[in-house]
């Protein structure tokens, strides 16, 4: 069978990308870019480079797909994914560069919302990630994914897994140890709690063992992925699978929008939100979506949430094994043997090994010098990356001087005076001290903003780590848009029956209790 569809689609995608690049580089798009934020528009560097590379790539392979002769084989299978992959990438680019900024412009024109002091799009988390998933959902449900793109859409899983693997480069050993410990406790308590609660509720409501088994995996561990892994083991009936997956998808999509709103209203830190989303959201894809929705231009929340996802997926084989043994016992089928080794081996997430490998490599200093912390380093000379333009201006020095009287602590006063004297942060210790001053909120907002600027001027990210961060953001955005194209309303509409009731109860309890635990027990840093 030849998988590559003879179609002009990839060629057309290439031409669209080249057109975007041409319009951006020849300044024809300038008035529109000005409308989208002018100097505050963050994507000018991307828009004047990425469409060129991917446009040429698409045109070359698009011409081959349309005019060339394809033969059966592995090569044909992999190349058949290109059109769908580039289709997802085009959607991601359009949403990131145009749709999300346009919505931000509209939202800002409406003013800040009441006492929140935030714009509507910030509160609703309407950034390029959430909008990308929404566009994906709209495409699959209203227009259908075209035949030529089907294989490529399935490729989106690979984007997310590669993103997780690359994330391994961004953790320090201490961070991984602390986050890992936290996630094991949180996930352990809430996964086991949810699985137990579903099985208990299932008994009370007299649902079949197979339904209780598949539902407990889905509600407790990692949503659809756990349902897919557990359904054959507990011999779930088709209707039970449909009910469970429908309920989880509906709940997951709702959580992806509700969690960031609640997080913003409660002013949760990145760590708190990542831990809450990682525990409270049933479906693993929506955990990543909510984390990026909460913090679209940084990956601190995603880093926390993904550690929780990894912990979940590592627990999955154990839960599947537990359910297999539980099901055999409950059904009284003593002749059936559960092969523990086979279950664990088959369900083990191999991509986690990639994550561990990259984490191991990063600790050797291969990506950034060993004295860097998480790929970041201090540098206040030109040789270490400091820009002369970042020196304090006379106006800024004057403003800071007027607020010097507010600083009481001796160490802070000294660091502050040195800053005024040099026009930049003098040492790494001074930087830490001035960060403390900012967090203490002693100074006015404009003064604090100046201090934040001086901090950014002396804190640099290693080049390789910067590239990794950029790749990770793109891979997750790509993966989530593709996953959006696999969420159909017809599947969500199957939510119903007793699974919907049990799922609603357990999902609410899990989200509510995990939020309380996060607020009470997790500080802002780890």
């Amino acid at each position: 069978m030849v998988y590559t569809k003879k179609s002009s689609a990839l060629l057309i995608i290439g031409l669209i990308l080249l057109a975007i690049w041409y319009l951006a580089t020849t300044n024809i798009l300038s008035p529109y870019i000005e409308h989208l934020g002018g100097t505050e528009y963050k994507y000018l560097a991307e828009i004047t480079s990425l469409p060129l590379y991917f446009g040429i790539f698409s045109i070359v392979f698009g011409a081959w797909q349309w005019f060339g002769k394809q033969k059966e084989g592995s090569c044909d299978y992999y190349l058949s994914t290109l059109a769908g992959g580039m289709f997802i990438l085009l959607i991601t680019m359009l949403v990131r560069w145009f749709l999300a900024p346009e919505i931000a412009v509209i939202s800002k024109s409406m003013g800040k919302i009441g006492a929140t002091g935030k714009y509507l799009h910030d509160i609703l988390g309407l950034n390029y990630v959430v909008l990308g998933i929404l566009v994906g959902i709209i495409i699959v449900n209203f227009f259908k994914v075209p035949n030529w793109a089907q294989n490529g859409v399935r490729l989106s899983r690979l984007g997310l897994k590669t993103g997780v693997i690359l994330l391994g480069t961004l953790y320090s050993a201490a961070e991984l140890k602390n986050l890992g410990g936290l996630s094991i406790i949180m996930i352990g308590v809430f996964v086991l709690g949810s699985v137990g609660l579903v099985l208990w509720l299932g008994r009370r409501m007299r649902i079949p063992n197979s339904m209780g088994g598949v539902l407990s995996a889905g509600m407790g561990v990692c949503g659809v992925s756990a349902t897919v892994a557990a359904a054959p083991v507990v011999q779930a009936k088709s209707v039970e699978i449909a009910y469970t997956i429908g309920t989880i998808l509906l709940w997951g999509v709702a959580c992806m929008f509700v969690f960031p709103i609640v997080g913003h209203l409660l002013n949760l830190s990145h760590l708190q939100f990542g831990a809450w989303a990682g525990t409270g959201i049933l479906n693993s894809a929506q955990v990543a979506g909510a984390a990026l929705a909460y913090q679209p231009d940084g990956i601190e929340t995603l880093k926390v949430a993904e550690i929780f996802n990894i912990t979940r997926v590592l627990i999955l084989p154990i839960i599947v094994l537990w359910l297999a043994v539980w099901y055999v016992k409950r059904e009284g089928n003593s002749s059936t043997q559960v092969n523990a080794g086979k279950v664990i081996f088959e369900k083990f997430p191999i991509f986690v090994l990639g994550f561990i490998l990259l984490f191991g490599l990063s600790t050797t200093g291969i990506f950034s010098p060993a004295n860097h912390y998480k790929g970041k380093y201090f540098g206040n000379t030109t040789a270490t990356g400091f820009n002369k333009e970042d020196l304090l201006t006379l106006d800024e020095i004057s403003l800071l001087k007027s607020e010097l009287i507010k600083v009481q602590r001796q160490d802070r006063k000294q660091a502050f005076q040195k800053l005024l004297e040099h026009g930049k942060v003098a040492s790494i210790d001074d930087d830490d001290t001035l960060r403390g001053l900012v967090n203490a909120k002693v100074l006015s907002k404009p003064a604090n903003d100046i201090l934040k600027k001086t901090h950014k001027a002396v804190r640099h990210t290693a080049k390789k780590i910067k590239v990794f961060r950029s790749w990770i953001t793109w891979l997750f955005a790509f993966g989530l848009v593709g996953l959006g194209m696999q969420i159909t309303v017809s599947a969500m509409r199957q939510a119903g029956g007793q699974p919907a009731i049990i799922g609603g109860i357990v999902g609410l309890i899990k989200a509510g209790f995990s939020l309380i635990v996060v607020i009470l027990l997790i500080s802002e840093t780890i």
Binding site: V228, I241, I248, S284, Q286, L483, Q486, G496
Partner: protein, 156 residues
Amino acid sequence: MVKATQNILLASHGTIGAQAAEQKVFEMCASNAHITHLLVVPEFWKDMLGDDWLNNSVTRIQFENYLETELGQEVDQHIDRVHSRLEKLGICSTHKIVFGNPDKCLVNTCGLSEFDLIVMGSPRPKGTAGLRSRMTTKFTARQLTIPLLAVPHPNA
């Protein structure tokens, strides 16, 4: 009254509403009628992997094979049940299993033979448990060129 020589298309995939349609066919058919039993496996099943991305290919293939086998067994049981009942009544029958949108599949099947009558169940009343894969009677009725008998749901 339905004529004895009628060629009837029975659309049923085993729900309570569809079983009421089956019962009506059993009651109203003469022995020389021919029943074509159409069973549609709704296309929403192909989306049941949802947005799973954590599992490896082995687990996904296992799930797909399991679901396919499970659906296959359910279809076989349902076909056997209707067929054996019709056989007992001495009514000649054939069956057709298709995958897709129930409405479109019914309309397409109607075009394949000269049916005199289509018999199908009614949508289940609100609040009754069941999968949401029912036919939209309005759409179907507009497309059909032959009489349609929609049997009332037992819980209506």
